[in-house]
Subunit: 339 residues, 2 copies
Amino acid sequence: MANYKVIIVGASGAVGQEMLQVLDERNFPVGDLKLCATARSAGKKMLFKGKTYTVEETTPDSFDGMDIALFAGGAASTEFGPLAAEKGVVVIDNSSHFRLDPQVPLVVPEVNPEDVKEHKGIIANPNCSTIIMVVPLKAIYDAAGVKRVVVSTYQAVSGAGAEGITELTNHTRAALDGGQVVPSKFQYQIAFNLIPHIDVFQEMDYTKEEWKMVKETHKILHDDTVGITATTVRVPVYRSHSESVNIETERKITAKEAKEILANFPGVIVQDNPSNKEYPMPLYTSGKDEVFVGRIREDNSLDKGLNLWVVADQLRKGAATNAVQIAELVIKYGCLGKR
Amino acid sequence: MANYKVIIVGASGAVGQEMLQVLDERNFPVGDLKLCATARSAGKKMLFKGKTYTVEETTPDSFDGMDIALFAGGAASTEFGPLAAEKGVVVIDNSSHFRLDPQVPLVVPEVNPEDVKEHKGIIANPNCSTIIMVVPLKAIYDAAGVKRVVVSTYQAVSGAGAEGITELTNHTRAALDGGQVVPSKFQYQIAFNLIPHIDVFQEMDYTKEEWKMVKETHKILHDDTVGITATTVRVPVYRSHSESVNIETERKITAKEAKEILANFPGVIVQDNPSNKEYPMPLYTSGKDEVFVGRIREDNSLDKGLNLWVVADQLRKGAATNAVQIAELVIKYGCLGKR
């Protein structure tokens, strides 16, 4: 099996670190490895399979001779993504910048793997909340059709990067010990609080995060007739996003059928045994690659509907794992760039 | 103005303490005051309007000669509620025991005040999550009709009483400092976690808390044609429940109209100015009596629908305040018990 030259851009951040970890765990065929980030992080040492790598500042030359570039997100994607693609590197990008570009496939490997083949150098990784919802949603979509989705999220602070994690700890200690709470990454104190405001406000007073869940899901499903409305909320949890997902289906599906369909769907683990207190919780899904689904119930207010409680590690399946899975598809389908 | 003889049963608990506080703040015409609780709390001292009261153990004799009994909830309601009513005391009960009894009015003063008049000795105070939802829901119901509601809750630990508060602090310190997390009041660690399990599991794998939101809302609105489906989740917040409420209306209502209607509805405060980061958050609504509504948006997936983000102090409007408001109606309508 061939080995591939892989570059991670934003390697030292919360998502970049997970990308490195996931490449290792999944035994991705890494030949050369280059770890890049902003000048601020250059010089930092990182380990991969027992070898120490030094983080370099990303420059246009960083991409020369590479096969696959995993972009963790942020401004680097717009600055270097198209340039890397021009150099024949396949860019798998976790930023929101290219996701809705019709020239760029937006891929969740369990849902629309074949879209990878259409890439023109850049493949976009969807928003974390979108990925976590769309995996179980596709299982139901295939089995019973989906008319409409009402989703409310409970999003962990690490969705805002490593600084989000630090801020939750700092705010929590300050709240408990009477210190000063200084919001910086978040709009308000996040410890012992909820903030119904993720990303910027846009049309109709929905946030960009809420619109991402609508528009990206439409693109991934190749179906914009599915009604989707979202309310996204930051919660004082370190890691793993949770979502309360109400689905109105086209055809009747029982809870029992839904459980079977979900259990057989790739990338989904059903945790649903109420009598034994089994349901997904963010504390226990962190570091895992699957989407956990529980509280699977027929909607008591509709003839054809379901309620699901969905939890997954948004740094793993919501970002790094999904990106590495896309890279695996690029290799599987033999659609690397031409250098 | 006459003064009334008031007894609080469960006075030393989280809700009982709030009842005392609310009686004070609202200048309820308290003549004699008796504070009762279980034997375990007897002897405890509590202050009311500068006077010290000693908590007594509740006995059948505790109710002799009283006008109004506020029951904070729990087993005392079934043990002493009917007995107190027989003695001519008007019982306002915060437990779930009598709420669905057709002989017992279930009242939210902003929604169905007149139902108080039908009481036969006991008036039930609804579940906290129900009260918080039904106040803004009634405003929309009156203005545009309601076909269906999808609600996901974010419920504070004090919904589980004073022990819930202690447990969040203990779990948080243990999680931060590496100590042992011992779940007792909650099923699992609640610090930095979410638990989609409040009260016991019942039919269709919904929890009792979820069914309360359906059945109590139907009773309060006198309309069981409204579809309601709920997912209730415990979050690591000390106080104030939050709810993401999606409402399908009978008639079209714009977000602008909804804001005006809600702002003019008694007991509601609209906090909705996204450009200024104004939206309700549980940290800032605690200790307040109103229901705060923000993130008011037309549902982008429906012709006729709204999304609301609703937050209120569940110990105040969700329990103590609502109970004292009911007591005020009892006096206003002159429907005290006959002794």
